[in-house]
């Protein structure tokens, strides 16, 4: 066998190694750009693009310019655009496949910017089409402030009094027929006349035999009369009971129209109560949308806070993409996450100006790091905004008990042309005003608990009330245009999937007082009209029921007459 070592192979190996190093030197920036764009797009669900990536080896660091992250819900808008992003990397940790960024600086962060081209990814946009669109106006409607037309109300509402009268008539007629049949079977005038004739005959009989025979006959006739009288008395007793029941029902029937009027007045007339939740109607839908958006962004940020892991015999298994195997983590002497940004300094640019902040401990392995993500941003003296501060802690150190806390405080935000309601009955716009807003929100596991406190100062409301609008709408419009200051509070509780928003505002009381008299007059008029209408509708059936009862009561008179006639015979 020839010598086993091929010395010239060393040269070949060295050449190949040098080639690889050269390739890396020339193309590493393009490769990193591609990796960031590919991984970022997969994470966000929409295109992530950057103009340039520049990797430096000594010291280890990376600079990225013009990073654009598309909003997956609006492909022609970016969630955020960052002009420059510079970071220093821990080179030794990089060899351990850990991306530990000690310091990251983000300059020129501009949220919600326009894109020239759509940033939708084909597979994601196809999936999104299946989702139902969210209608921001869903459920938002000012209650009708028009006094309803009495004819319309009576046309569509069923009156209980009419139903009662109908039933009464049907039943009393049936009973009348039954009693008339019963009367026919009971001893009547002719039968009593027969008794009288037989008695007279006895009285006229003469002789001893006639007297003795007559006494026996008399006893027999009297017994027959008594039996018939007993039947008549029983019938009278039964009838008195039935008649008393019909009398009671007739009284109820006569009272029924008043009950109908009461019910319809309660249902259709306006009251201060209807306006007590106007703030819910004005702000509820918008608050709901904001909560939905906040929860949606929180869900999108989940990959930055946690990732899927499972434990097997004390070792932690992290599941990556399919077909790439699984990574098993073991205990480290100095535990560190696979990805960590210890400190980010960021400068955010919005239309009003810019504000600065820091974000600490960005990692999907907070349990490994043992510290939560925290952030704090603050800015003041901006255009149309006196001050803003925004801080929070997203604590997923214990993945089974995550707790995220966010606080936002805005002072002196200048509102302009803010549409509160585009309802045709009561369109409400805040032309101008200053808003102070404080929000404290906690999301513990899936439980939401948030308090929102808003103050509006120097407000100028526009309520373009249409000319045809009713007196109440006009009163509300006038009151709103006089309001300059108001406060509103919201409490959001429940779970992230099923939460409840409770809103309250002094707007409710102001409106309630302002329109109280107008409502009172309108309601009184409506009540009178309704009364007339109901009475007109029920007058006929009620009269018919009274007549039927009188007819029915005639049977009692007949029974009494027969009893009297029978009693006279004894």
């Amino acid at each position: 066998m020839k010598a086993i070592i091929r010395w010239q192979g060393l040269g070949v190996f060295g050449f190949v190694a040098a080639l690889i190093c050269l390739f890396a030197l020339f193309f590493i920036d393009t490769i990193i750009k591609g990796i960031i764009e590919k991984q970022g797009s997969a994470l966000v669900g929409a295109r992530v693009e950057l103009a340039e990536a520049d990797l430096t080896f000594f010291p280890a660091g990376l600079q990225v310019s013009r990073l654009q992250i598309t909003n997956p819900d609006k492909p022609f808008r970016n969630i955020v655009e960052i002009d420059r992003l510079a970071m220093s990397l821990d080179a030794m940790r990089l060899l351990q496949r850990k991306i530990i960024i000690e310091q990251m600086a983000m300059e020129g962060i501009r949220p919600d910017t326009t894109r020239r081209k759509s940033g939708a990814l084909p597979k994601y946009s196809a999936r999104k089409k299946a989702a139902a669109p969210v209608d921001s106006k869903d459920g938002f409607k000012i209650p009708s402030l028009q006094i309803p037309d009495v004819k319309e109300v009576l046309g569509k509402e069923k009156l209980a009094s009419l139903e009662l009268a109908k039933n009464y008539q049907e039943q009393i007629k049936a009973d009348m027929l039954k009693w008339q049949q019963q009367l026919a079977e009971l001893p009547d005038e002719s039968k009593l006349a027969q008794y009288k004739e037989r008695l007279n005959k006895l009285k006229s009989s003469s002789g001893l035999a006639g007297l003795l025979g007559g006494a026996t006959e008399l006893v027999a006739i009297r017994q027959e009369i008594q039996t018939d009288l007993d039947r008549l008395q029983t019938a009278q007793r039964d009838f008195t009971e039935v008649s008393a029941s019909y009398k009671k029902r007739l009284a109820e029937l006569q009272n029924a129209p008043r009950q109908d009027i009461k019910r319809l007045v309660a249902k259709y007339s306006l009251s201060g109560r209807g306006l007590a939740n106007l703030s819910s109607l004005l702000f509820g839908s918008k608050t709901g949308n904001i909560v939905e958006q906040a929860l949606s962004w929180h869900a999108k940020a989940q990959p930055l806070l946690e990732r899927r892991k499972e434990k097997k015999d004390g070792s932690e298994i992290v599941k990556p993409a399919r077909g790439k195997g699984v990574w098993v983590r073991f205990e480290e002497r100095e535990p560190l996450p696979d990805f960590l940004v210890r400190n980010i300094t960021a400068s955010v640019q919005i239309a009003a100006g810019s504000f600065d902040g820091t974000i600490k401990n960005v990692t999907p392995d907070q349990d490994v790091l043992g510290a939560p993500l925290s952030f704090t941003f603050a800015g003041d003296s901006m255009q149309g905004l006196q001050a803003i501060s925004f801080d929070g802690v997203l604590d997923h150190v214990n993945p089974t008990l995550p707790r995220d806390t966010v606080n936002l405080e805005i002072i002196g935000f200048a509102l302009e042309k803010a549409v509160l309601s585009d309802d045709e009955n009561l369109p409400v716009t805040i032309n101008s005003g200053l808003v102070d807003l404080a929000v404290q929100a906690v999301l513990q596991q899936r439980d939401v608990n948030a308090d929102v406190d808003a103050k509006l100062k120097s407000a100028d409301f526009t309520t373009a009330s249409p000319q045809q609008s009713d007196a109440i709408s006009q009163a509300i419009a006038k009151t709103l245009s006089d309001i300059t200051n108001l406060t509103a509070k919201a409490k959001i509780t429940g779970t992230a999937d099923n939460y409840d928003i409770q809103l309250s505002s002094d707007l409710d009381n102001i409106l309630k007082q302002a329109v109280a008299n107008t409502i009172k007059d309108q309601t009184a008029r409506f009540e009178q009209d309704l009364k007339d209408g109901v009475m007109a509708k029920t007058k006929g059936p009620l009269a018919a029921a009274t007549t039927s009862f009188s007819d029915f009561d005639g049977i009692a008179k007949e029974l009494t007459a027969r009893l009297q006639a029978g009693g006279n015979l004894l």
Binding site: I4, I5, V16
Partner: protein, 173 residues
């Protein structure tokens, strides 16, 4: 590719040491079965360059074993998980996990671990098996193959023309 196959056939049918071809195949098996971008493959490349392993056989082997790896990856992953989560080996893995070189090796990935362990276990038996097969081929099959219809077809093919160019013989196989 045709050139590569022709070169391999030339070596296979020459008087070259069977051990050189077998070693090339076994090293190719390690590279082919395990994920390409693994640290140990640099060592394998170094060995291929320095040891007298046949380069044509190595390259052909890498292609062949990479194809096999696609089919066996799920099994390698299972094997890797079993090994990486075995209680008795936990302290060993934990020690290696804290060494930068081994972290670069990605040993804690189930496919890397499963395929590498499999390749190393079968390395020596496969070396001797390939040796035996090459010897048997040269002793018994070569003459038969030369006379077979397949070979006649091959002699008329483009591959053969490449083979002739490679060997520079222009003569018979």
């Amino acid at each position: 590719m045709l050139k590569l196959i022709a070169k391999f056939l030339k070596v296979l049918n020459s008087e070259a040491e069977p051990g050189q071809i077998s070693l090339a195949f076994c090293l190719a098996m390690v590279v082919g079965l395990t994920p390409l971008m693994s640290l140990h493959n640099i060592l394998v490349l170094f060995l291929v360059c320095v040891l007298r392993a046949n380069l044509s056989a190595f390259l052909l082997g890498v292609f062949a074993f990479t194809g096999v790896a696609y089919l066996l990856d799920p099994l390698f992953s299972q094997l890797g998980i079993v090994l990486l989560t075995a209680g008795t080996l936990k302290s060993l893995w934990s020690s290696l996990y804290n060494i930068t070189l081994f972290r670069l090796e990605n040993f804690n990935n189930s496919i890397v671990m499963g395929s590498l362990v499999f390749a190393l276990i079968v390395f020596v038996p496969m070396y001797f098996l390939f040796n035996l097969l090459i010897t048997k081929y040269r002793d018994h099959l070569l003459r038969w193959v030369e006379k077979s219809r397949l070979m006649k077809f091959f002699l008329a093919s483009k591959l053969y023309r490449v083979y002739k160019t490679v060997t520079g013989l222009g003569g018979a196989v």
